[in-house]
């Protein structure tokens, strides 16, 4: 990672205007979006959109031809190119040929993508962006920090400053007044302009129709007042049929700005009359710029389903801290990273792809069903293949693929860290051990005795059924107490728990860094260890491990061409349970009595990313806690990532820290004395943060709280 990138992150996070504006917006957005979608079956709608856009992405060539045929039959000029420079040349030629000098533009990401403005201005044309946000950005000489709200990072005072210079009068930060100034200035430009340039939100192949939406009404003026209209349309805007417009237009305004419908929707099919009665000189440029290559890629094709609502930015816990100037390029955020890799180059995403913490918020709200975190993972895999691994990466992967060595080192670390640990925490690390790692949160001390040694000695009643406990590194070596609690609870349901000694790291660190072959080796070792002993269940108290066992092992093995392992991977997946889901089932089946204990302290529940969004489990632990007698006090944003993200907190402590602080603030705001959760990673992050703050609040795994309620753990 470049030092410059680190500096940019630091600068963004330390900018209170930026983080304040983005933070407040993302909080408000979650509520207003939900309201806009009231009464609508979002899942059905997005399936429909994914089908329409997915189908279109599969036949871009055919649709582009049909669109051009229809539009030209109506009298438009059609031009199609894969080269950005040809778009610029086309417009410059047109301007030169017809003596056009003054350009007004409505918002077009495609024109940003090809850096059109610079080219036109260099050639001596006057170019005015007319979307208010874009105009501000243009005057400020910046690039948009958000795909829908380009100037969200600027305060009204900063805008007043920018406008004051332009109109040569002293303006204050009075928003309605600033908007009036923009209207007055740009109205004149509209009336004088020779050429209007727009993008399009949708292009319908069968009818040659362009659909353009704006709230300000600037696209109506851009397409009505100048005698020439040039529309620059990325190929991914094509859809086949006119009726396909409806679902997209139903979702886009709701997802983008929480509106039922954008103020102005314009559908243009061929040239319309100008104000002098002549027909519009309409030019439609279809831009490829690697889109057909993308469509031919089996993994990345789905990114062409994007309808550019930017809801993925609005729910991203990282984007709301750093904004689009850091997280993205022309296109911003997670989807922007993916688009940059194709429309620009893969190498350009080397740094920014690392910003995705993989929480999955974006995937949940995407109206086109794009699995953005998975696409970013694929970027990582491809970058990993292209970039030589560093010596320390190679060493780490070698260790994690050798269980005996790995566990030997963890045991040695337990001894080595003893002098640094107090009450189970490491609060400061000497610089040579990576002092930063414990700077904003304490680290758990490595347990004196790992669960793998401890569990076989536990006295368990003979059960009717058998479960294998898959611990994962954190529970095994840092939180063996969580494992003990799992055993106690399952014992009460008549299930005996064993610990297969051959189990090792689930492979998550390598997997989420793109090192698939390393993760696949972990998958094989674990499959062998866990299928060796016959058992009814394999249970894990770590959602990330559960996802590995249930889903990722199979995917990694398949990706590595190890198809012969798949039947065993599936056998393991089928009997793997996360702790709360299994216990919920045992209670439902009447095999585990969970009487409400009296006098338990209220708790609040933190949803872990992998549990809620990868495994779809959120109600089960809550129901169990309530049934066991814990009054539940919900916190604000209970499902927002705590900033742990596996090794993310090590890579980006400056981002993980404010994420954790926000989480701690919300936990405290719930009024509960205990925060319950189902993930040892979140446990480590949140407990470490609370300890560093000196907070009396407690953090407990759901297993520990249930064991306590059942009269086990004290």
């Amino acid at each position: 990672m470049s030092q410059d990138f680190k500096r940019q992150i630091k600068k963004a996070i330390e900018d209170p205007n930026l983080t304040g504006a983005l933070g407040r917006f993302s909080e408000a957005y979650a509520l207003s979006r939900a309201k806009a979608y009231e009464g609508i079956d979002f899942q059905a709608l997005r399936q429909q959109i994914a089908a329409i856009k997915g189908d279109a992405a599969g036949k871009l060539e055919e649709l582009a031809e049909e669109f051009t045929r229809q539009a030209t039959a109506k009298g438009a000029h059609g031009f199609r190119t894969s080269q950005p420079e040809e778009v610029r040349a086309y417009i410059l030629n047109l301007a030169a040929e017809k003596g056009l000098k003054r350009v007004v533009k409505s918002k077009s990401m495609a024109s940003e993508e090809i850096h059109l403005n610079q080219a036109l201005i260099q050639a001596g044309l006057e170019v005015k962006e007319t979307d208010l946000g874009e105009w501000i950005i243009q005057l400020a000489g910046q690039r948009p920090s958000h795909m829908v709200m380009p100037a969200i990072h600027l305060t009204k005072e900063e805008v007043a400053e920018i406008f004051s210079k332009e109109v040569k009068e002293r303006l204050a930060g009075d928003i309605p007044r600033l908007v009036k100034v923009a209207r007055r200035e740009l109205r004149q430009k509209f009336l004088e302009a020779d050429i209007g340039i727009s993008g399009a939100n949708i292009a319908v192949a069968q009818t040659g129709t362009l659909v353009i939406i704006t709230n300000e009404g600037n696209a109506r003026l851009v397409t009505s007042l100048p005698r020439v209209h040039v529309a620059i349309v990325g190929l991914e805007k094509l859809i086949e049929r006119f009726e396909d417009i409806a679902p997209i237009l139903t979702a886009l305004p709701k997802s983008a700005t929480s509106q039922l419908l954008t103020s102005y929707v314009t559908m243009i099919t061929g040239p319309v009359p100008n104000t002098d009665g002549t027909p519009k000189d309409l030019h439609i440029i279809l831009l490829d710029n690697h889109r057909t290559e993308m469509a031919a890629d089996p993994v990345f094709k789905q990114a062409l389903q994007c309808i550019r609502c930017a809801s993925c930015l609005n729910v991203c816990p990282v984007f709301r801290l750093v904004g689009g100037h850091v997280f993205g390029d022309v296109y911003t955020g997670g989807i922007g990273t993916v688009l940059t890799a194709w429309f620009d180059q893969l190498k350009k995403t080397e740094d920014i792809q690392g910003l995705c913490i993989g929480c999955g918020n974006c995937k949940e709200v995407c109206p086109a069903c794009i699995d953005i975190p998975e696409l970013i993972m694929e970027l990582r895999r491809r970058l990993d293949k292209k970039t030589p691994r560093t010596l320390s990466q190679k060493a780490a992967y070698a260790v994690v693929n050798n269980r005996r060595l790995f566990h030997g080192l963890l045991r040695a670390a337990s001894l080595a860290s003893k002098p640094l640990a107090k009450d189970g925490f490491i609060r400061h690390l000497p610089q040579f051990l990576g002092g930063d790692l414990a700077s904003f949160r304490s680290l758990p001390a490595i347990a004196a005795e790992p669960l793998r040694d401890l569990l076989p000695r536990l006295r368990q009643p003979q059960g009717r059924q058998k479960a294998l406990f898959y611990a994962g590194c954190l529970i095994d070596f840092a939180y063996p107490g969580v494992g003990q609690a799992v055993v106690e609870v399952l014992n009460k349901a008549g299930i005996e728990v064993a610990f297969p000694q051959g189990q090792t790291c689930c492979g998550a660190p390598a997997r989420y860094a793109g090192a698939v072959e390393v993760a696949a080796k972990n998958a094989r070792d674990n499959i062998e260890a866990l299928l060796e002993t016959p058992a009814d269940y394999v249970v894990s108290a770590c959602p990330t491990c559960t996802v590995a066992l249930k889903e990722a092992f199979g995917q990694d093995l398949e990706a590595q061409g190890l198809g012969d392992w798949l039947p065993r991977a599936r056998e393991l997946a089928a009997k793997t349970w996360d702790f709360s889901s299994l216990v919920r089932r045992l209670v439902d089946e009447g095999r585990l009595a969970l009487p409400a204990a009296l006098g338990l302290e209220p708790c609040t529940y933190h949803d872990s990313c992998h549990l809620k969004r990868s495994l779809g489990v959120q109600e089960e632990p809550r129901q169990l806690l309530i049934q066991a007698g814990y009054p539940l006090r919900e916190m604000f944003e209970s499902d927002m990532c705590c900033g742990m993200g596996g090794s993310y907190a090590l890579k980006f402590p400056e981002i993980a820290q404010p994420m954790l602080e926000r989480k701690l603030h919300n936990i405290a705001g719930s009024g509960a004395g205990t925060v319950a959760l189902d993930c040892p990673g979140c446990l480590m992050q949140i407990q470490g943060g609370l300890d560093k703050q000196g907070s009396p609040l407690k953090v407990r795994h759901t297993a520990e709280l249930l064991a306590q309620a059942l009269g086990g753990l004290k």
Partner: protein, 185 residues
């Protein structure tokens, strides 16, 4: 009937909605509206009425006499100096409070984009439940410029503060007319 929903949704996005039984009542309402909102025969205060079915058979000269500043000859210069622009639309979408119509003729576009106030005449019979119903009904081949308008022009580009009236009208006044076929006078 979708009218109540339409009215609620349109008002929810800051449009003003009125309902009148017939053409005569609607005409009286519009003329009163123009007078009450300061339409006058001076640049910036004009009213400009684009050709539309509502005007069929009406004596435009007489109307212009009743409201000084009102005219029917739409040019871009005139529209740029206009306070109230009037046109007619064909459909209303109840669940979003949207008005929609064929805006291929430049006159209708000029009077609905440049003035501060846009007054749109909507036959109540043109109310449809939603956007899909409209998409089903229109034929883009027969309509080069289909315009949907939901509330006045708005922006939230500065600090996300909703501000009305950026490039387009600051007020959208929708006059629903139940019986547009009613013979005038």
């Amino acid at each position: 009937m979708d009218y109540e929903l339409f009215k609620a949704k349109a008002e929810g996005v800051s449009a003003e909605v009125h309902r009148l039984p017939g053409r005569a009542a609607a005409l009286a309402f519009i003329l009163d509206f123009l007078k009450a909102n300061g339409v006058a025969d001076s640049p910036g205060a004009f009213a400009l009425w684009a050709p539309c079915p509502f005007l069929a058979g009406l004596d435009q000269a007489e109307l212009a006499r009743q409201v000084p500043g009102l005219s029917f000859d739409v040019t871009r210069e005139k529209a740029a100096q206009t306070l109230v622009g009037i046109n007619q639309v064909t459909w209303g979408l109840a669940n979003t409070g949207t008005i929609a119509g064929d805006a291929t003729a430049i006159e209708g576009r000029l009077v609905s984009t440049l003035p501060w106030i846009h007054l749109a005449i909507l036959p109540t019979a043109g109310l449809l439940p939603d956007l899909p119903a409209l998409i089903e009904r229109v034929d883009p081949a027969a309509m080069a410029y289909l315009a949907l308008v939901t509330g006045p022009s708005r922006t939230a580009d500065i600090e996300r503060v909703l501000t009305i009236g950026v490039h387009g009208p600051e007020r959208l006044v929708i006059v629903c007319v139940d019986d547009l076929e009613e013979v005038n006078r």
